[in-house]
């Protein structure tokens, strides 16, 4: 019974900027995750997570986001690189939960308008992931010059990304399955 439960691997779109190209990336990732056997997904747009800015952390936990993180076995985070870092609102949303993330897998997709494909935002996110209890995989997906990768309507122009995403997702699914087994069956005591 337990072994037959689908994995839930939502995709978090980590920016609220108008005109964000990461929206196309997130749609593509969500579509590719949905193709995987035994996996459910949905796109979580942080622009739709309603959190106040007058406080921070678990004190402002939002029930809908928390419920989805609790259900999740792993996460895909789509993180555009802004001034070499991640969006402040992505951190604000992530910080609103803790127990929901513990011993769950995460894969990071970096996005940039320049040539480095969000490598710096990924590096900056790694210690944050570690501290909130998520377990990072060693595959990333890097969208360089993202404005050239998608047409205006969101159509993918470079099919080589499909293979990279597939390798990334295979590793994420393996890690998510392994960590689910650990969370549910392997005791610390």
């Amino acid at each position: 019974m337990e072994g037959s439960r689908s994995l839930f691997l939502p995709v978090i779109l980590g920016t609220t900027r108008q005109g964000r190209m990461s929206l196309h990336v997130s749609h593509l990732l969500t579509q590719e995750v949905a193709k995987q056997n035994g996996v459910e997904t949905e796109l979580i747009d942080i622009a739709a997570v309603s959190l106040p800015t007058g406080d921070a952390g678990e004190a402002i936990k939002e029930a809908g986001f928390s419920g989805k993180m609790n259900r999740a076995d792993g996460l895909v985070i789509v993180a555009p690189e802004y001034n070499h870092g991640y969006s402040g609102l992505l951190k604000h949303v992530l910080d609103s939960c803790l127990k929901e993330y513990i011993h769950k897998a995460v894969g990071i997709v970096g996005v940039s308008a320049g040539p480095f494909g969000g490598t710096r935002v990924i590096q900056n996110l790694l210690p944050v992931m570690r501290e909130i209890g998520l377990v990072t995989i060693f595959w990333d997906v890097n969208f360089s010059s993202v404005q050239k990768v998608f047409a205006e309507d969101g159509k993918l122009l470079d099919e080589s990304y499909i293979r990279r995403i597939d390798k990334f997702l295979k590793e994420l699914i393996w890690m998510a399955k392994t960590l689910r087994q650990g969370r549910e069956q392997i005791s610390l005591d």
Binding site: K99, I102, E184, Q185
Partner: protein, 60 residues
């Protein structure tokens, strides 16, 4: 003193698996008296239901 009682899943009513302890430093005034002096923070236990996969936590 560690809490040895098993957590029970609120949905499935089965014993949950204790799979993680984490030290939490950002304590507020309400939690100040619970700080472990040798560790400098509060130990939070994390448990997962083997039936539905739901997670829960509590102070150790």
């Amino acid at each position: 003193m560690a809490n040895t009682d098993k957590m029970i899943c609120s949905r499935c009513k089965v014993e949950m698996n204790h799979h993680c302890d984490k030290i939490v430093y950002n304590v507020d005034a309400h939690d100040a008296g619970k700080t472990d002096p040798s560790l400098g923070g509060i130990i939070e236990e994390f448990h997962t239901c083997p039936k539905c996969g739901s997670g829960a936590s509590r102070h150790a």
